[in-house]
Amino acid sequence: MAQQISESELVLMKIIWKNGGAALYSLIMEELEKEKNEWKNNTVLTLLSRLGEKKFLKVKKIGRKNEYVATVTEAEYQTMQTHSFLDKVYGGNVKNLVSTLLRQDILSADELKEIETFWREENE
């Protein structure tokens, strides 16, 4: 089981994914500013290096600058997280998950049908 990414770390990962899976430190800071996040330099560096320790990021030296490269894609990460969530909360049972989604009106009947169609087409 891979390690978890904390909420604030995920913010950084999303910026990197949005930028095609690699980003320079300066670009990350710019993006954070755009999102009105007032994060200090050392805070960002700490989070980036934690992501590195968890093997979600690799650091590539470009001259004196560091480029942070994601080792997993956003889709891979979502799959990983879904599996982990499913295992943890629903004991791996997808039916239970779907019924919860339906019961709580998170998933509408129409959406479910859409998914069904998508699923059939995929498997034909």
């Binding site: 904390s6 996040n37 050392n42």
Partner: protein, 583 residues
């Protein structure tokens, strides 16, 4: 081995002396000097405990010699710690006359005793050090296991602010830990601040951060471990634990001082409150050495709070006074010194021996200092010193003013082939102090009948003969080379000690001498004429009585050396009897 034990003990004594000196001066500086100075001054003490650097004549070095000689004459059993410390109290101010070359009591002791002491010392030092390391590792693993990373951006930003304020470039990790009650900082190169799990105000957090980051900036972990090394090496010295305590205490004071330098009165009070709030809850895991914590104990905290409220910026005169005292202490550290094994030769040149065995009053003294030449001393017929030599090659200085007769001979050229022997005529009279120094030289002097002789021979071949009825003493050290001593009256009325401190080589001694571990002793009659001879470095020493001496006994390699290197002529068994006295 015994030399090692002695150096260690002398380091311990001189470190303790310096420690007591600084502690004694505390009333002078405690409230005047910066806490930072009061913290770092202990480095001088720590280094004094660790490094055997020393000038030639030092207080402790001389003390150890005194101790050595005292042990010879009074047969004090060696229980070093106690006796040495007693010595320091009453002998410190006495002028020091004892020569280093005096044979030490230690050398008579069985070799095993020192090996034993050495092993006990090193085993305990090692065990202590390993234990300290494992305790530290255990502690950091214990901490690591309970760590949760702090991902609250607000707190991380706060830490970043503090790092920027203190200009710290290294990224400092931050985590929570439910196993601790007081914030700590661990790690040497990848520092990590660990916070206890409890609600902390922003103000409190920033004080904690600044305090811990200041520890990191002062490199306190390294300092603490330096002290731990000193403690392990000097575990037998009770004063070392005093040093440890003082350093720990002044470490926190110095850190507080730095933190509050930028605070106003209200903030100072808040900072003090933060310290107190952590004292209330005790740490679950006790280990003061493993890390730098925020608070250590109630008593100490009181002192820290006092210091916080009394903090004043230092003015210029204090700065000057501080530098003066620092300089004084560093000089003291050097002057206190340690016992060393090989600085003796340098000393002996300067200081003639004071020897109780012969009354030198009214007798002329003789100083012979020769280097890079071959000299045969012959009796002078006209009570005057003179020499026959090649003035192109040698530089001979004779000074007969007063009753202080001095001869110094050296070689003018850098490559002396030793192709001629200088004939030096010296009156055959009773001398008082006699100092013989030979460096890379050949010296034959075979008619000494009186005097307190100090001999220092380095890379030399020296042939000394004490005439029949010799009255006086001899203290000689031969460092690498050949030294031969003949007593014409077979060491009558002498207390003779031959000490072997050398490496490769041998000692030939008369059969009636008592041997123990390569050293020889002999006592005859009144025993008033004290003869101490020490072999050092590489080389051979031959001690002979008048009839037992026969140069045909010489080891083959020395005959070869004699003919090849020194004389350039084939070996003759009776050369020493005849060749020098041809005319």
């Amino acid at each position: 081995m015994n030399e090692f034990v002695k150096i260690l003990l002398s380091l311990s004594v001189s470190g303790a002396l310096l420690l007591l000196l600084i502690l004694g001066l505390k009333p002078l500086y405690k409230n005047r000097f910066s806490k930072r100075w009061q913290y770092y001054i202990w480095i001088v003490v720590a280094l004094r405990f660790l490094l055997p650097f020393t000038p030639n004549t030092t207080i402790v070095g001389s003390l150890f010699e005194k101790f050595d000689t005292a042990a010879i004459t009074n047969e004090i059993p060696t229980s070093p710690n106690v006796s040495v410390l007693v010595d320091t109290s009453n002998k410190k101010s006495e002028p020091i006359q004892t020569n280093r070359e005096i044979t030490t009591a230690a050398m008579h002791e069985p070799f095993n005793k020192y090996v034993c002491l050495f092993f006990i010392w090193s085993a305990l030092a090692l065990v202590l050090f390993v234990r300290k390391i494992t305790v530290y590792q255990g502690f950091s693993q214990y901490i690591k296991a309970g760590n949760t990373e702090v991902s609250d951006i607000k707190i991380l930003n706060l830490l970043s602010d503090c790092e920027e304020k203190l200009n710290i470039k290294t990224r400092v990790e931050l985590s929570y830990n439910s196993l601790i009650a007081s914030p700590i900082m661990i790690g040497f190169f990848r520092p990590r601040i660990v916070l206890p799990v409890r609600k902390l105000e922003d103000k409190e957090l920033s004080y904690i951060f600044v305090h811990e980051l200041t520890h990191y900036k002062q490199r306190d972990m390294f300092y603490k471990w330096l002290i731990q090394i000193v403690v392990c090496a000097h575990w037998f010295n009770p004063f070392i634990y005093l040093l440890e305590k003082e350093v720990n205490k002044s470490c926190e004071l110095s850190c507080d001082e730095k933190v509050i330098a930028v605070l106003d009165d209200k903030e100072k009070r808040e900072y003090g409150d933060t310290l107190i709030s952590f004292l209330k809850s005790n740490n679950l895991y006790k280990s003061s050495l493993a890390s730098v914590t925020l608070t250590e104990g109630a008593e100490q905290l009181k002192e820290r709070l006092g210091a916080i409220m009394n903090f004043k910026k230092k003015n210029k005169s204090v700065v000057i006074l501080t530098s003066v005292l620092t300089l004084f202490l560093v000089i003291s550290a050097t002057v206190i010194g340690v016992y060393t094994t090989d600085s003796g030769a340098a000393n002996a040149h300067a200081a003639p021996l004071s020897n109780p065995q012969l009354d030198t009053e009214g007798k002329p003294s003789l100083t012979l200092d020769v280097s890079s030449c071959a000299i045969n001393v012959l009796p002078a017929t006209d009570n005057k010193i003179s020499a026959e030599y090649n003035s192109d090659v040698y530089d001979v200085k004779i000074d007969e003013s007063d009753d202080n007769r001095k001869v110094s001979i050296s070689c003018k050229t850098s490559t002396n082939t030793n192709d001629e022997t200088i004939k030096l005529y010296i009156p055959d009279i009773d001398y008082g102090q006699v100092s013989l120094t030979a460096d890379s030289a050949h010296l034959t002097y075979d008619f000494i009948r009186s005097g307190n002789i100090a001999g220092n021979f380095n890379m030399a071949s020296v042939f000394l003969t004490l005439s029949e009825g010799f009255n006086g003493s001899l203290n000689a050290a031969a460092n690498s080379g050949y030294f031969q001593l003949i007593s014409k009256d077979d060491f009558k009325n002498t207390t003779t000690t031959i000490t072997n401190s050398g490496d490769w080589g041998e000692i030939y001694a008369p059969e009636n001498f008592t041997e123990s571990n390569g050293n020889y002793t002999f006592k005859n009659g009144t025993g008033n004429n004290v003869i101490n001879v020490t072999r050092k470095g590489f080389g051979v020493m031959g001690i002979y009585t008048s009839d037992a001496f026969d140069s045909s006994n010489f080891p083959k390699e020395w005959k070869d050396l004699w003919s090849d290197t020194w004389q350039g002529t084939p070996w003759e068994d009776d050369w020493w009897q005849n060749s020098w006295k041809e005319d």
